[in-house]
């Protein structure tokens, strides 16, 4: 299956051949054996990089949360239909980088924007983060409104890239 690690955006191709112990799997094509030792509290001791580390994995909704010692990783399965050949940026989707509140939306559906244009400001834990357009685009859809609370990964905007050579109005 294909998994995306949300923090790095990195994709992993993992096939589990035997759920263990030890876990036998291929990771991005390379065979791998992971020694595991179940704990009574639901955790697992794994042997990793020459060390024994406590690990815990749990799924909630579409997110798979994994801790390996103090490190935390969150994965999402990439649906097979959108899998390998996932098309580049025909419909770029702007998602919330963190859970929080939509503070301000600076554009409207239908607007054409150039690269760097501020699109939306979010607030979480009293910190504001403004998300900007990465390239020239037209705003297709804005499914959120100012004041709304959103989860991390929630779709904030759908954009259609437009030819940067073509002249365009700022609004």
């Amino acid at each position: 299956m294909k998994l995306r690690e949300l923090s790095s955006g990195r994709q992993f191709d993992v096939e589990v051949e035997h759920p263990g112990p030890p876990i036998k799997a291929t990771l991005d094509g390379a065979a791998l054996s992971l020694a595991t030792r179940a704990q009574p509290d639901g955790a697992t001791i794994i042997e990793c990089g020459g060390r024994r580390l406590r690990a815990f994995a749990a799924r909630r909704g579409d997110a798979i949360f994994v801790s390996v010692g103090p490190s935390t990783f969150t994965f999402a399965a990439i649906a097979a239909s959108r899998g390998a050949g996932r098309h580049s940026l025909a419909t770029p989707i702007l998602t919330a980088p963190m859970p929080g509140k939509v503070l301000k939306i600076m554009v409207a559906e239908g607007d054409e924007v150039e690269a760097g244009r501020a699109l939306i400001t979010m607030e979480a834990m009293k910190m504001e983060t403004t998300l900007s357009a990465e390239g020239p685009a037209r705003i297709k859809r804005i499914p959120v409104s100012a004041g709304q609370m959103v989860d991390a990964g929630a779709v904030l905007m759908e954009l259609s890239p437009i030819d940067s050579a073509k002249p365009q109005s700022d609004r």
Partner: protein
């Protein structure tokens, strides 16, 4: 202000600090009252207190910043004192005045001292009067004045909330083009956070150390200092690792800074526990501000000076004279574990506490409100836990910190423990080469351990396979046990 023995204490706060204050109160035989917003009804501080009162919806402005709701809760519960913790209303002079007017004992400085300490401009002037150097700066939210100031001192300059604290509302402006938008955003953030949009501009020091002095003053005009704390390790101008003593200053500078802190606190008529903050740049130090409250990082001082600062606060608020502290001993380091993604610019994170392991062992203290099953939201500050390690010297404290961070586990919320582990284990930290720029420089070359990431990907795939039959989490909280619905998986050994 009411005085005398405190019998029932309302804690106008949440999270780890609410629990920490409750614990001292309990050991002193003082009854406790928790307050909570709608978002916090299931939080441990609500369960830990002897009484608990709802004070409003999730938004802090309508709950933890809602003076009248809090004071009403205190009166209804029969409390005779209010401890404000840190943040929220802790440095709000109007709140302190209202608490006193209601006949309750405010566990902090009197309103006029809060007002004086909170007035950054006035505090700077006071510092200059008592001969303590300050960083060049000016109060303004006006673009023209700001431009003139910047032209005189040179970019970058710093914008701060005049009523601010805890690193919130601080912006660094590198060039004139950014000045206008930065002033606008900073004013809005300051208004939201402190209900006071006034701003203050300061010359930006390139890579200073942040050193602060713990003070406690009583109503008889006596102020004692309990050493310094080095708080240079910051991200977004907010401290994440603090230690005491500072390994980077000479005995002469330590003496001068502590003397300056006591002089300033005495001049302002300081009462209760507080902190005087300084920036150290080469051989110079500059007064920064007075934090007229308990600091997040107060435990490192408690461990070195063998004291309970909350007990000191309650004692001086009840009218006792402050006592001379014992000679300090050993070294203490605090790491703040935040719900943030260190791999993405310390973005706030949230989620459920699915699995939890709190470190323990000789010299280890963890102040936290984490408990299995709770949900970490985004309404409030993302501090999850403070890991404080004590050792007979800095090296022992540092090694204990690293070993304890390895024991910390929290699944379901992205947090900074592994990053802090990286910092503490680094050569540069071991050599105590610290400055307020340390973290932004360190994070650039820090990576999550590759072995752990690969193992995590494999475990995630096993979990995803196993989850075919997993129960999804119900929308309400009526499940028989939160553990039944996590979809957590085990990797069973055959033995």
């Amino acid at each position: 202000m009411a005085s005398g023995m405190i019998k029932k204490l309302l804690i106008a706060n949440r999270g780890e600090i609410a629990l920490r204050v409750i614990r001292t109160a309990r050991a002193l035989g003082i009854q406790t009252v928790a307050v909570y917003s709608q978002a916090d009804a299931m939080m441990p501080h609500v369960a830990a207190a002897d009484d608990a009162r709802p004070i409003g919806p999730a938004e802090a402005a309508q709950s933890y910043l809602n003076s009248s709701a809090i004071i009403q809760a205190a009166l209804a519960a029969g409390a005779d004192a209010i401890h404000p913790g840190y943040g929220f209303l802790s440095e709000n002079a109007d709140f302190a005045a209202a608490v006193s007017s209601a006949g309750l004992n405010f566990i902090g400085p009197p309103a006029q001292v809060l007002a004086a300490a909170g007035d950054k401009v006035g505090a700077r002037q006071l510092a200059q009067r008592v001969g303590v150097p300050v960083v060049p700066g000016t109060e303004t939210a006006d673009l023209a004045t700001a431009r003139n100031f910047a032209a005189l001192t040179g970019y970058p300059i710093m914008i701060k909330a005049a009523a601010g604290g805890g690193g919130r509302g601080i912006r660094v402006v590198a060039a004139e083009a950014e000045l206008g938008p930065a002033l606008e955003t900073a004013a809005r953030e300051a208004q939201a956070a402190f209900n006071d949009g006034r701003l203050f501009l300061e010359r930006y020091l390139e890579a200073p150390r942040h050193i602060e002095v713990q003070i406690v003053g009583d109503r008889y005009g006596r102020v004692v200092a309990m050493g310094e704390r080095e708080c240079s390790l910051q991200r977004r101008h907010q401290k994440i690792i603090e230690e005491s003593p500072s390994a980077g200053i000479t005995a002469a500078m330590r003496g001068a800074i502590i003397e300056a802190a006591v002089a300033l606190a005495s001049a302002v008529g300081y009462r209760n526990a507080g902190t005087v903050e300084f920036l150290v740049d080469g051989d110079n130090f500059y007064f920064l501000e007075i934090n007229a409250r308990l600091q997040v990082e107060h435990p490192v001082t408690e461990l070195r000076f063998d004291c309970d600062l909350v007990a000191h606060q309650l004692s001086v608020a009840a009218g006792d004279p402050v006592r001379e502290p014992p000679a300090p001993r050993g070294h203490a380091i605090e790491c703040r574990i935040y719900a943030e993604d260190a791999r993405n610019d310390f973005r706030p994170a949230a989620g459920p506490v699915l699995y939890l392991q709190i470190p323990a062992g000789p010299g280890i203290r963890v102040d936290t409100f984490l408990a299995p099953g709770i949900e970490i939201g985004t309404h409030y500050d993302g501090l999850l836990a403070k890991l404080i390690a004590y050792g007979h010297d800095r090296d022992e404290a540092r090694r204990r910190t690293a070993a304890a961070l390895d024991e910390f586990m929290l699944t379901g919320v992205t947090h900074t423990a592994a990053f802090l582990r990286g910092v503490v284990a680094s050569e540069r930290f071991a050599r105590a080469e610290l400055s307020t720029r340390f973290i932004e420089q360190f994070v650039r070359q820090w990576r999550a351990p590759e072995d752990s990431l690969n193992a995590a990907a494999v475990l995630a795939a096993v979990a995803q396979n196993a989850a075919a039959a997993a129960v999804s989490r119900p929308a309400d909280r009526r499940s028989r046990s939160p553990w039944e619905t996590l979809g957590s998986i085990n990797f069973w050994s055959r033995s």
